[in-house]
Amino acid sequence: MSDAPKNIVSPQTIEQVYKPMNRRTFLKGTAGAMVGMAGLVAALKPLLALEKGEISLDDLLQKHYRQLSPEDLQRIMTMLEKRCEKQYGVRPTIQDLKPMDGVQFGYALNLTRCVGCRKCAHACLAENNQSRDYDDDLSMSYIRVLEMNKGAINLETSTAYYDPELVPQKDKYYMPVQCHQCKDSPCTKVCPVQATWQEKDGIVVVDYNWCIGCRYCMAACPYDARRFNYQKPTIKPEAINRNQDYLSNRIRPKGVVEKCTFCLQRTRAGKYPACLEVCPTGARVFGNVLDPNSEINYILNNKRVYILKEDVGTLPRFYYYFDV
């Protein structure tokens, strides 16, 4: 949305449309003009935001993340920091951590351990600065914990709204679902403007300044892993995590899609993702698949893992397993 409109209808073209003036063409022309005007208005809408100071000229003229020079990116990140301070009252530090060499991330989740306490889903909020209407608003959390009936892995009979006194409940098991960071990711393929792509370490990221908010990627995702900012994100200053990354948890503009990045602001600095840090049962295992001694490789070598919706063939980097 904040991205430069590509085909502004120039006044000249509109003039050409209704040049020969008879009634028929006049009507046709006005109709065309109306459509043209509507298009023009829509296309120029960012200028309105520009006028109001919500975005800057830089936003409109900004290049795609991967074409930005380091200096440009630095300038943009400083600008974003300032804007965040102005709009949310907190000055974050936005950095741009690059993928590490020889690292591809993998994540495994032990369904025998998971008790469905939702600590991961709430930690995701605390870490990733999602928009919240109230303090515990999980709607933008990247993790949905599904309560499943024992006996089958059937998503159709699962629910994310369970709220018993205590978990786990008898005859239920719990399956947290988040972005699987697929190797053959459908979401990146459908993006008309390449605002989302897969990085060298396997993490699928979004350039929030390039996203046009068409939500094709959300439709393409088999795991319901993407969230859309229907409104300007609301977040209390004290809830803001200041450790931010350009491609990950910086506060998003309105009208863009966001998603789990395995907390790349943490994991590219060598730390565990937030959801793993808080898991009380130790159901989550994270690491570098290319390192033969990593914990994730221990799982892949010693446990029998399975892939959710393997049949859709997107080659996830997220594995589930059962384990006595």
Binding site: N110, V115, G116, C117, R118, K119, A121, H122, A123, A126, E127, D133, Y134, D136, D137, L138, S139, M140, S141, R144, A160, Y161, Y162, D163, P164, E165, L166, V167, P168, R227, F228, Y230, Q231, N241, N243, T267, A269, G270, K271, Y272, A274, L276, E277, V278, C279, P280, T281, G282, V285, F286, G287, N288, S294, E295, Y298, I299
Partner: protein
């Protein structure tokens, strides 16, 4: 009778509590030591007040992650006993109990709050050291210190211990990349109570409200529902 604690100006109510503790202990001792104790009846054992040692828990995760709640599921108690507001070191009593007992054909007079529900692991002395109660016991009778309690569990749960060492049973916090920083492992007893180790059910955090925002937004508390496309 003279109590050490009165030196520190303990109010009478406290010393009364202390007295009752002593009589309670004495009662236990009497039962346990039945014969030896009869002669020494007027001389009650003197128990110095010991401060409860800080729980021997390593720090969990990184200090910079204050926004994430990493509290382990269980708070360990450590090897000391609190009774009526007093803290006793195990050996304060146990140095007086000469004979460790494997089996009781009556309810124990002390430690009645310990209800062992650890499967077929039914004997206290499978874990607690028979002569030094401040430590645990290994297969060969040597001591396992409290800080190494994981080795105690490893005695019988070898496969789980192997997973724990590899970092996949229990939780690791900190850095996945060991070259960039430290990581900590939770110890077994920070999740499992050794006396009834089954993982305890817990209260779930608040759920997603229905319907979620994208579906029309009646989950909004602000009331301005349905304003977005």
């Amino acid at each position: 009778m003279r109590m050490r604690s009165t030196k520190h100006g303990v109010p009478p109510s406290l010393s009364r509590a202390c007295l009752s503790v002593l009589s309670l202990v004495a009662c236990g001792m009497w039962l346990a030591l039945a014969q030896e104790d009869t002669a020494a009846k007027p001389q009650l054992p003197q128990l110095p007040k010991v401060a409860r040692p800080p729980a021997a828990q390593p720090q969990v995760g990184l200090a910079t992650d204050a926004h994430l709640n990493k509290t382990p599921p269980r708070e360990t108690k450590g090897l000391d006993l609190v009774k009526l507001g007093w803290t006793y070191n195990c050996m304060e009593c146990h140095k007086l109990l000469k004979q460790p007992r494997w089996h009781y054909d009556r309810p124990m007079v002390e430690h009645q709050d310990v209800k062992l529900q650890h499967g077929n692991n039914r004997f206290c002395l499978n874990c607690h050291h028979p002569t030094n109660r401040n430590a645990f016991v290994d297969y060969d009778g040597s001591e396992i210190q409290e800080a190494d309690v994981v080795l105690l569990c490893a005695k019988c749960h070898g496969t789980t211990y192997r997973d724990w060492q590899a970092g996949v049973h229990g939780r690791q916090n900190g850095y996945w990349n060991k070259e960039m920083g430290e990581s900590t492992k939770l110890r077994c007893i920070q999740c499992h109570d050794p006396h009834h180790p089954a993982f305890q059910p817990m209260k779930p955090l608040p759920p997603l409200r229905y319907p979620p925002r994208a579906a029309g937004g009646s989950a909004r508390s602000s009331g301005e529902s349905g304003t977005h496309p």
